[in-house]
Amino acid sequence: MKITLTVNGEEHTVDVAPDTPLLWVLRDTLGLTGTKYGCGEALCGSCTVHLNGNPVRSCVMPVSAVAGARITTIEGLSPDGTHPLQTAWVEEDVSQCGYCQPGQIMSAAALLEQNPNPSDEDIDAALFGNLCRCGTHVRIRNAVHRAAKKGGGR
């Protein structure tokens, strides 16, 4: 079935089964592997992308449900890694293995759009569903604060 959606500002028409999770359309059909698979059950957050600006878990989002929508992945957050969250993440040296970080950053980006100056509790609540086995949580929080100070809502 042919479905058209806009990903990172570019329109794509894909021919996939309508119940294909958006995650696999992004990774396999469109080759955007920045969004990760961690559980397939919306429990870990590594598949987080923006649907019309809102964070969603793409692993349980059937692509038919996003026909005509605007999707943003980590690759589209900025053209060159200069989103305030991305630069803050580097300045705070957040990543260890890095597998969860695209999802963390996408969740954080949505948070800062809603709440440009979040408290620790706000950050914890917004990123609660993004798991990090390496345990980078303290630095994630620092980086979100750092990005907020830079006007991270963009």
Binding site: I74, S78, G81, Q86, S95, G98, Q101, P102
Partner: protein
């Protein structure tokens, strides 16, 4: 001593690549006949631990799997320390599977301990050859020369030469058997906190993890 030189050559292989550079390779002892074939060296040395090209750029291979423990950054730091280059001038490349690199495993928090001596020796050997090349060019005594920040310096006259200008000459030299490693009190890189070399790629989704690898014919 002749035997030592040949066996050393099979342990640490030096060559000038066709592009013009000094490559120090790590070998588990290989077929001796390969070690003596210096003409077509590029063919015999696809993965070395460090290379320096004529423009002075330094590439250091990261031999072990990186899984967030930081060895892609820390193991090259050990080499760079002994090599006497600025950390900012180092480009790190993840090594492919290569039996010449020895055991390419990570576990038990052993990467640094297990590779400490070998990587220091690799960096120090390259540094010594560069110093020798400069000393030869200047007709100077080895002890009057020292390496720092990607240059060899001649203490009495104050002159210096960049590594990039020494690679051809250094590649012609025999690989020294015994090199001194630095006194830890002189460490400028090891013992300092360096940024994860993959930091920027990880936050832009560019890093390739196992699940991201594509090979022809995969399902």
């Amino acid at each position: 001593m002749g035997n030592t030189k040949i066996s050393r050559r099979s342990f640490l292989k030096v060559s000038a690549a066709a592009t013009g550079g000094l490559i120090i390779g790590f070998y588990i002892p290989v077929d001796e006949s390969l070690a003596d074939t210096t003409q077509d060296v590029e063919r015999f040395e696809p993965n070395a631990f460090l290379s320096i090209s004529r423009d002075g750029s330094v590439t250091i291979m990261a031999k072990n799997p990186e899984l967030g423990q930081g060895v892609k950054t820390s193991l090259p730091m050990i080499i760079a320390e002994e090599l006497e280059v600025n950390w900012e001038d180092v480009r790190i490349e993840q090594a492919d599977l290569d039996p010449r690199l020895g055991g390419q495993w990570a576990g038990g928090s052993m990467s640094v301990t297990y590779n400490w001596d070998m990587l220091r020796t690799a960096g120090a050997t390259a540094r010594e050859m560069l110093i020798t090349a400069a000393a030869n060019e200047w007709n100077a005594e080895r002890r009057e020369c020292y390496a720092e920040a990607g240059h060899v310096h001649h203490r009495p006259s104050g002159r210096s030469t960049a590594y990039g200008d020494l690679v051809d000459a250094a590649a012609e030299l025999p690989v020294p058997d015994d090199v001194d490693v630095k006194d830890p009190k002189d460490f400028r890189i090891v013992g300092t906190s360096k940024l994860n070399t993959d930091a920027k790629d990880l936050v832009t989704g560019r890093t390739i993890f196992g699940i991201d690898v594509k090979v022809p014919g995969m399902l």
